[in-house]
């Protein structure tokens, strides 16, 4: 159990500054997910917590204690690597036991923990095997068991599911969530997959280019994005962003909030005439690519699959489903902005003009 704090953290590789002036608190006992495109610095943060890629400047606190000068093995953290990084020349048992031996855990205690953990992850029948005799999923479990057996304060996971096939990944996803519920330990999970982040996290930390774009629970992340990046990173297809004439703000709306109809209803905030360019039928839902009259494009995600390419219709979005962003891409909310109502008014009128 541990709270993790980053205070004014900098990291550079040679002359390339990856992270500058980062402040972040990861709450105790939460399933924290660091998510973002590749190169955004999420793995760098994870390696800082582990101590295998120290910060260039700044402090990292574990439960209020500065761990910057504590070696990785003594921080009370365990990590699951993307490549699993299990020791190829040791058996499964030796892999799990290695950390305990190095920490001088007595033999009886080691035996107890190994049998307990191997039961939990389902490795009990394979303790005598070498990693080369295991399947991908089993190797993943070895990596997990090796981390669990140390009973760490913090679990670090670096895209642990990315090497598994889709079916196994889904199963492991819910197993990890379950595991977190049992252990109630702080998890820090790195992924580039927004679906994984939404499905697993209590708290999502969305990063881009070394900066934190938004930190919130999945629901808020989806419903109330702080900026264009957050609105577009979470959700499939990404949030549509359109410009309104020569206005200095941008409008966003999710593909699933679009209403397409032959006749425009009078009381909706945003209305445009659109033409269907392409249609992707995915089963329960259908994606439509739409072209607005002024040439801008938007994606719609509807349960209605009966529309055809070339149809000309009205696109409408309710006011509650509209996001306003300023010129820098930051969200302008109803509360806290005196311009909000004026912006809604201008969006409404923009169709009539």
């Amino acid at each position: 159990m541990a709270k993790i704090e980053f205070l004014d953290v900098h990291k550079s590789f040679g002359s390339a500054k990856v992270i500058e002036n980062l402040n972040l608190t990861l709450e105790d006992g939460k399933f924290n997910v660091l998510v973002g495109p590749s190169g955004c610095g999420k793995t760098t943060l994870l390696r800082m917590i582990a101590g295998i890629g120290p910060a260039t400047k700044g402090q990292i606190l574990l439960d209020g204690e500065d761990v910057s000068n504590i070696p990785p093995g003594k921080r009370g953290v365990a990590m699951v690597f993307q490549s699993y990084a299990i020791y190829p020349m040791m058996t499964v048992r030796q892999n799990i036991e290695f950390g305990l031996k190095n920490n001088r855990v007595p033999k009886a205690e080691r035996e107890r923990r190994i049998s307990e953990v191997s039961q939990v992850v389902g490795l009990a029948p394979y303790l005598g095997r070498k990693p080369s005799q295991l399947s991908g999923g089993q190797r993943q479990r070895v990596a997990l068991a090796r981390a669990m057996v140390k009973e760490p304060k913090v679990f670090l996971m670096d895209e642990p599911l990315s090497n598994l096939d889709a079916k196994l990944r889904g199963a492991m996803r819910s197993e990890l969530v379950q595991l977190h519920k049992q252990l109630k330990t702080t998890f820090v999970y790195v992924t580039h997959d927004q679906v994984e982040a939404m499905a697993m996290g209590d708290c999502i930390i969305l990063m881009d280019q070394g900066k934190i774009m938004q930190q919130s629970d999945p629901e808020t992340m989806y419903r109330d994005p702080n900026n264009i990046f957050a609105a577009q990173f979470i959700g499939t297809p990404p949030t549509n962003i359109v410009e309104i004439g020569s206005e200095n703000f941008k409008l966003g709306f999710r593909p699933e909030t679009i209403i397409l109809s032959a006749n425009a209803g009078p009381d909706r905030a945003f209305t445009r005439r659109v033409k269907i360019m392409t249609r992707e039928m995915l089963g329960a839902e259908t994606f439509y690519k739409l072209c607005l009259e002024d040439g801008q494009e938007a994606m719609a995600r509807l349960t209605n699959s009966s529309l055809a390419e070339g149809d000309t219709l009205y696109l409408q979005v309710d006011e509650d489903n509209l996001y306003f962003f300023d010129a820098k891409g930051n969200r302008v909310r109803k509360t806290g902005s005196q311009h909000y109502d004026a912006m809604v008014e201008r969006v409404k009128r923009s169709h009539e003009s």
Partner: protein, 282 residues
């Protein structure tokens, strides 16, 4: 049945036939000297000089081996060879493994230059260095000890290079995982790196063994007392007898000389071949 693929089949047959013949030829080329050594060592002196030579001894005798032991104080030479070889291997491992680990995994000031020096040492033939080393040994008053045959070979450039290559194949993640498992550097080296580089380590050890065991020129120059000379020089002494060259005795001496090398090679050949193939660990 005459099929349209007959030509292809014939060609394939011809290729495998030629390949087999060539392999057989190479085998004979390499094995015959060994065979000749073994057979001659069991011949009588008379049997060894008959013309035409015979492929098998007329009378099978161990006389040559007896002579080797009576003419020489063989145990003394054998002891020297064993001490020198074992000491060289042990010291080379103790120095080479940490050096290779440092070269492969640490970045420190002067690493490039130091590695270049190691590689340069790899390329300098002993014939260039032996006079200066001899003078050095003489000043240290080591000439009547085994040290001149051991100390200059304490570090093997070839060994450091080969082990470094093997260590570089170990994924960084595994080393980091070991650090998170609270393993110290010595433990990472012995428990993670060495098992991963096992076959390279065996190759290095084997080459050191053969090099040291068969070494002739260096001990000849560096020793002037019989009590510090190795087996190679003793076998040479079997030659200068007044009655002309007694081939069975020389071959018996060579048998004693070569036997340990052959045995070890037979036991380790799989590891050596795999290490030469630079197999990665995945």
């Amino acid at each position: 049945m005459h099929s349209k693929y007959t030509g292809f089949k014939l060609r394939r047959l011809a290729v495998s036939g030629i390949s087999f013949t060539f392999k057989l030829f190479m085998l004979v080329l390499f094995l015959f000297p060994f065979y000749w050594m073994i057979v001659t060592s069991f011949k009588t002196y008379g049997g060894s000089i008959v013309f035409p030579p015979t492929l098998l001894p007329h009378t099978f005798t161990l006389e040559a081996f007896e002579q080797v032991f009576t003419r020489l104080n063989l145990w003394n030479y054998l002891k020297n060879s064993v001490i020198v070889t074992v000491a060289v291997i042990v010291i080379q491992t103790l120095i080479g493994v940490p050096a290779a680990y440092a070269f492969s995994r640490y970045s420190f000031k002067g690493r490039g230059i130091m590695l270049a020096l190691v590689m340069a040492a790899f390329m300098v033939p002993t014939q260039i260095t032996f006079i200066t080393v001899y003078i050095m040994m003489s000043k240290l008053r080591w000439l009547n000890t085994l040290l001149p045959q051991i100390v200059p070979f304490g570090a093997s450039a070839y060994g450091i290079f080969l082990l470094r290559q093997a260590f570089m194949q170990v994924p960084t993640d595994i080393i980091e995982a070991a650090r998170l498992d609270n393993a110290g550097e010595i433990k990472i080296m012995t428990r993670i790196m060495l098992p991963a580089a096992k076959s390279s380590l065996m190759t290095v050890t084997l080459f050191s063994f053969v090099g040291s065991w068969n070494s002739y020129f260096w001990p000849l120059v560096m020793s002037n007392a019989e009590k510090v000379r190795p087996l190679t020089l003793a076998i040479e002494r079997l030659k200068d007898q007044d009655a002309g060259i007694n081939w069975p005795v020389i071959m018996a001496g060579n048998m004693i000389m070569v036997l340990p090398v052959l045995l070890i090679f037979l036991l380790m050949s799989n590891k050596i071949i795999s290490s030469m193939g630079y197999r990665g660990i995945k």
